[in-house]
């Protein structure tokens, strides 16, 4: 009979952190969490914090992330980094947090730093890919796509996505310019949408962009999500209000007419659109009334 070795405090903390990360990655659809489970994780972490103080704060940060309290999660993560600035093993969680907060330039910077030490980390690479796309910056994508070594089917898909985005970024810049949207406005809007989405779902972004340049001119972003149709209606409504509040605060009501977000059911992606998997389906110049 094999007896199970007792775990030390550090191992226990690693176990709690891994469970929380696994639970975040496994979530589909809208955010949900069991407060009892989170309280239990916190209780175990409190009892074992001497095992690794930096990791302890990282666990607390993951608990707050699960509850979508991203600002508090960042404060806790900053504590972890103060204790040990050289801790690369907890950096991917920080990158995820920066991404959820839509601090996109910081996300690219810290993701690049981490990918130098781990060239196969899917979860960090995807944050770099999407952040670069939201900023319409192809340089980090070109560099990291050469360095990234995919070790899973997901990693291979991600590398293909990155290559597709490198090809379309310059075209998108030209196309948005044709409808009077600047790169700054585009990035501002994408950061806003990403921030909203992060508060609603822990699942990765699944989207498609098109540009209407007929009698109406706007950028349309379809976001495909694994929920029911009632949630779709609610999300569209909540995002409109979120966007309106932002535009009023920024004194930029004109921006409201430049972007349209449509949250949609996952299977609505296959609605007959040519190349449905494409991230950018181009400009629709049909002159319709």
């Amino acid at each position: 009979m094999v007896t199970r070795q007792p775990q030390n405090k550090e191992q226990i903390l690693i176990g709690v952190a891994n469970d929380l990360i696994h639970s975040l990655h496994a979530q589909k659809g809208l955010i949900s969490f069991d407060n009892t489970v989170l309280k239990n994780s916190k209780r175990i972490a409190d009892r074992n914090k001497e095992g690794d103080f930096a990791l302890y704060y990282c666990v607390l940060s993951l608990i707050e992330t699960t509850k979508s309290n991203f600002t508090e999660a960042k404060r806790l993560y900053d504590n972890a980094m103060k204790i040990d600035q050289g801790r690369m093993d907890i950096l991917p969680n920080y990158v995820s947090l920066l991404y959820r907060l839509s601090e996109l330039e910081q996300t690219v910077e810290r993701a690049t730093e981490y990918l130098k030490t781990n060239k196969s980390c899917d979860t960090t690479f995807i944050k770099l890919v999407y952040s670069s796309f939201f900023l319409l910056q192809s340089a980090p994508l070109i560099t990291q796509s050469k360095e990234f070594i995919p070790c899973s089917p997901n990693g291979k898909d991600l590398l293909e996505t990155s290559k597709e985005l490198i090809m379309i970024i310059d075209q998108i810049k030209i196309d948005i310019e044709s409808i009077d949207i600047s790169v700054k406005e585009y990035s501002e809007f994408m950061a806003l949408l990403n921030k909203f989405y992060s508060m609603k779902s822990h699942a990765e972004f699944d989207f498609r962009i098109s540009i209407k340049n007929g009698l109406d001119q706007y950028l349309k972003m379809e976001v495909f999500i694994d929920v029911n149709v009632e949630d779709i209606v609610k999300l569209n409504s909540e995002f409109d209000s979120f966007f309106i509040d932002y535009a009023i605060e920024q004194d930029s009501l004109d921006m409201l007419g430049k972007f349209l977000v449509a949250f949609k059911l996952k299977n609505s992606r296959y609605d007959g659109t040519e190349n449905p998997e494409s991230l950018y389906i181009g400009v629709n110049e049909e002159m319709v009334a």
Partner: protein
Amino acid sequence: MSVTTQDVIQQKIELDRFSFEPPEAYERLKIARGYYAMYHLASDLFNSSNKHLVTRYDYPPSNSKHPDKRYTSHKAVYMSLLRSNNDNLIEVGKKLMRYHDLRCKADYDLHLHITEDDISSAADCLKECTERIDYHNKNGNIPFSRASKVILVNMGKGGVKKSHLKVINR
């Protein structure tokens, strides 16, 4: 004989009472007629006879890149609402923009399926636009509320808040 906005709205209500084959053609017609009912209802807000008149903008703001590029008739309606500085009407503008996008798909993109979420989104746009425009016509600039009474707070002289109870007209 001419028809009124109310006739167009009634047309949409009557349309909801029956159906025909193929179902997708019926759904496309419902989206189109619903959108036009709301387009006309919103357009009436700019009518000088409206008690709570809203400013209509036919051109983009002067600080935009092409201030002389006239809006199309549909865009002029939703952009005027989006630029109205009235939270309730801004919401209507955003819904109308979404509804117009769905209407264009229903009328022009025959090769695309009208999905379950398109149908639900259109129904939501119709409900919200109707309720909010009706509210504006009855209550003007009083912030939108689904309550029967609201407390309005104004900043008086010397920063003293003044509040009073207002009954919402339904």
